[in-house]
Structure formats: structure tokens, C-alpha cells
Symmetry: C2
Subunit: 253 residues, 2 copies
């Protein structure tokens, strides 16, 4: 069983898009997947066509009102279950702050479920908040989507420092895997930034890149993973390739 | 004097890009501009070529160690001063939480400066956090950049509710102005989403749209506003048009 946190404090770099489509691809490979929406925006839920405002989610779990198993939505995609998020999750930040073991809350709630899934994928909010720390604390790997820009490049070093902080504090080893997203090979600027990132982070960068394709935006609009909405397109092929590379990298975990 | 908060909890929709380039355009129109970087990522500072890790910024102001006037960087662009942000600003969330009048801290620090500027522009982090509330609390207008997607559309209603909450609590009137960004007119999907947004939010939407153009990414990479990096391009023209529309809308404030 492998826990993958999809994190980057830079906003809009493809975290949710990657969480949904990686989960869907792994599910189609007959792995059992739990997708955890840790972002109060609730976009991993929305992107799978689930409007979760009026149902219990992670907030009720952190407030000890319900078990994690009780809020899971089954089969939101082939082989994929979902722990939904609602806006009330934003209030958890203050709630957790006063708890003992405040960074381990998610880990503790996931513990009883670890035997029922092959992969647990956690979509993180765009911040190095307590919610994000909870995700890092139980991660076997941190997948970092980055778009091609100065701001994204700037954020990686800071994220690396934060992950190292969490790893040292709890004597863990949490490898980082960097995933270039929204890559438009037609522009020289993008190719130059990609090369810069490949040089700076040669050890962490994945072989696969996700191309910029409007099909991925359309898929989210229709509440479906790309593998269902447009299975024969570049976006679907890229995410299948990502799933293969993740399975290969985590096989030894 | 008008305070404009550039806010949207959706990540990566062009908040920082809009803050920098709107400030630069207003500065070239001979208005006196103060750009306040309220995002711990510090990208409004970085996008103007300033690496601020080792200098005092908003964190030192909120901890009462320095006056706001003491941390201002003068003339980062024509007619534009900057209040920089560093990563330590992230710690302010917890610091403010225990203060009385915790949502008014920024307003109180800006008070003595209000006569020295025509516009104060605040770049917000991608969250409805205490930092963002501080910006909303002192705003005369909230400018909401949105990219063309389901996730962006979903976030606007929630942001509207939050702004109304702040306005009611303090008996203020804080108009919202919606700015479509990264608009690629070549795809049918984008044109459909744009039409949907124009129908849903007919009152709040601005006349100007910012086109998708890689020139804006390049400008940030070189630490310059688009008006300096590529003044004769579409990106610069769009932001000049935005500045005109903002001046027109706020003339009566
Ligand atoms: N490869 C891609 N090609 C084209 N558009 C993409 C691609 N990946 C993501 N997008 C679009 O870019 C926007 C940002 O992506 P997404 O919301 O997944 O990022 P995020 O990191 O989860 O954002 P946030 O920081 O708000 O959580 C969305 O509109 C999404 O549909
Ligand atoms: N009109 C545009 N055309 C092309 N690229 C753009 C445009 N506006 C912004 N970008 C790029 O899109 C990315 C996101 O923009 P930006 O960082 O300004 O958004 P943000 O809302 O401030 O993000 P965050 O939520 O992390 O604060 C950046 O790489 C930026 O250079
Ligand atoms: Mg997201
Ligand atoms: Mg920003």
C-alpha cells in the first residue's frame, strides 16, 4: 500500500487534475484506489461530478463525529473511492491547531483502511498549511506538479525544505517526484523553462510530461476523468504513462 | 485614494500577474501606486525582480517590530512602491489569530499612508485565510481574476459569499469586479465558458479580457512588468485597457 500526496503551494499547477486522472488510470489497471480531497475548495470531488456541499466529508471525520469509512463515496470512477471535502474543511485548520498530534490526525484516520487499498492519493490545497502537513506526514511519496514558470520553479525549493523538515521530525523518508504539467512544446519559453527544471532537479523529475491540452479542462467540466471523457487523446495517454511510471517507482516501497 | 484587493481562493488564475501589471500601468498614467504583497510565496516581489528573503517585510510589520513605511521598497517600477512579503508571513496566520481586531491589522498599518498614494493594490494568497480577510477588510473594490474552467467558476460564488460576509460585518460596500484571464479565444471550450461567466455574473464582469499570451510568463521570468518587457504586445494592451476601466469605475469612489 502506497500513500501519494499531490502537493505544491503554488496555485493552479495541476494538482487536482493530476489527482483525479492518476487515480482513474491506476483504477483501470485494477488497483484499488482511495482519492482523498484535502482541499476545502472540494475540486477533486467536483471534477468527478460530485457536488458535496450537503454530505459529510473530512470535516466530520476530523471533528470525530464520523469514521473515515462512513464518509467514503464508492466507485466514483472504475476502481476509485473518494473521501469528499466541503468548505467547512477550512475550519479544520483552527480546530487541528489545538489538538495533540495535530499533524498525525489524517494518518490516524487512514490507518484502519490501509489494507483495503493499493494506493491512497491525497489532493492538497495550495498552501503549506496544517492540512498539507497532515498529508505529507502520511505520504510515502510526494508528487509535485509544476507548470512552466518562474513562480513554479521558485516554489519547489521551498516545498523541498518543508518535506525535509517533516521527514526529519518523524524519521521518515519521503521522496519527491516532480511532474511537469501544462507543457506546450510549441513555445521556446516553455522548452527553456523545462530544460532549466530538468537540470535543477535531475534526480526528482519524472520522465513523463503532461502536455497542455484543453481536453483536460473539458473533462473536468463534464465531471469525468480524461480516461472516460476522451480516452484516445494525448491527455489520457500522458496520464496512463504517469501511472506506469508511478507503479514502477513505488513497486519497491 | 482607492484600495483594490486582488483575490480569488482558486490557485493560478492570474492574481499576481494582474497585481504587477495593473500597478505598472496605473504608475505609467502618473498615479502614485503602492503594491502590497500579502502572499507568503512573495511572487509579486519576485515578479518585479526582487528577491526578498533577507529583508524585512509585512511579517515585521504585523509583529510590530517595524512601521509599514520602513519596509517599503521605492520605485520598483515607474510610479510604483512595493511592500514585500517573505515566507515568514505564513506564520502571521497563527500570530493574528490571537490578536484583538485581527481582521483589521492591515487596515490599521495602511492608515498613515493613505494620503501618499492614489491606489493601493493588494496581491492575495490562494485561500480565504486571515491574511485574505485583512485585505478584504480594507478594500474599496475586490478584483477577481478567473481562468476559464469549472473550478474557477465554482469558486466565485463562494468568494462572493465571503466578501458579503465581511461587508455586512463592518457595514461596508465592497463591489466585486470579475476579470477573465488567460483567455484563448481559439478554443470553443474557452468561448463557451466565457459566455457562461458573462451570463452568470453580468453585473460584476469587466468589459476587458486578458488574452492568454506567453509574453506575460516571459515578463515575470525577467522580473519586469509587461509594459517594460514587451510594451507593444497584446498583454500590455490588455492591461492598459484594464487600468483605464479601473480608473473609470473607481473615479466616483
Ligand atoms: N495539462 C493541462 N492542460 C490544460 N489545462 C490544464 C492541464 N492541467 C490542468 N489544467 C487546467 O488548469 C487549471 C488549474 O489546474 P488544477 O485546478 O488542477 O490545479 P491545482 O494545482 O489543483 O489548483 P489549486 O492550486 O487551486 O488547487 C484548471 O483549469 C485545469 O483544468
Ligand atoms: N494572461 C496570461 N497568459 C499566459 N500566462 C499567464 C497569464 N496570466 C498569468 N499567466 C501565468 O499563469 C501562471 C499563474 O499566474 P499567477 O501566478 O499570476 O496566478 P496567481 O493566481 O497569482 O497564482 P497563486 O494562486 O499561486 O497566487 C503563471 O505562470 C503566470 O505567468
Ligand atoms: Mg486543486
Ligand atoms: Mg499569486
Amino acid at each position: 500500500m502506497t500513500v501519494i500526496a499531490i502537493a505544491n503551494q503554488k496555485g493552479g499547477c495541476g494538482k487536482t487534475t493530476t489527482a483525479i486522472n492518476l487515480a482513474a488510470c491506476l483504477g483501470e489497471m485494477q488497483h484499488r484506489i482511495l482519492l482523498v480531497d484535502m482541499d476545502p475548495q472540494g475540486h477533486a470531488s467536483l471534477g468527478l461530478g460530485r457536488h458535496c456541499e450537503d454530505i459529510p466529508g473530512l470535516y466530520e471525520v476530523f471533528t470525530q463525529d464520523m469514521e473515515l469509512g462512513e464518509v467514503i463515496l464508492r466507485n466514483v470512477a472504475e476502481g476509485v473511492d473518494l473521501v469528499p471535502a466541503t468548505i467547512s474543511l477550512a475550519a479544520v485548520e483552527h480546530l487541528l491547531a489545538d489538538m495533540s498530534r495535530r499533524e498525525r490526525q489524517l494518518d490516524m484516520h487512514l490507518e484502519p483502511l490501509k489494507n483495503s487499498y493499493d494506493y491512497i492519493i491525497i489532493d492538497c490545497p495550495p498552501a503549506l498549511s496544517l492540512l498539507a502537513f497532515n498529508a505529507l506526514r502520511c505520504a510515502d511519496m510526494v508528487l509535485v506538479p509544476i507548470e512552466m514558470s518562474l513562480y513554479s520553479l521558485d516554489g519547489i525549493e521551498r516545498l523541498q525544505e518543508t518535506v525535509e523538515l517533516v521527514a526529519e521530525k518523524y524519521q521518515l523518508d519521503i521522496p519527491l517526484a516532480i511532474l511537469p504539467t501544462m507543457v506546450d512544446y510549441r513555445t521556446r519559453f516553455t522548452r527553456n523553462v523545462l530544460r532549466e527544471i530538468q537540470e535543477h532537479f535531475a534526480e526528482e523529475i519524472l520522465k513523463v510530461c503532461i502536455h497542455y491540452t484543453v481536453r483536460l479542462k473539458e473533462a473536468a467540466w463534464h465531471g469525468k476523468p480524461i480516461t472516460v471523457y476522451a480516452p484516445k487523446t494525448l491527455g489520457a495517454a500522458d496520464y496512463h504513462r504517469l501511472a506506469d511510471e508511478i507503479v514502477h517507482r513505488t513497486a519497491t516501497v
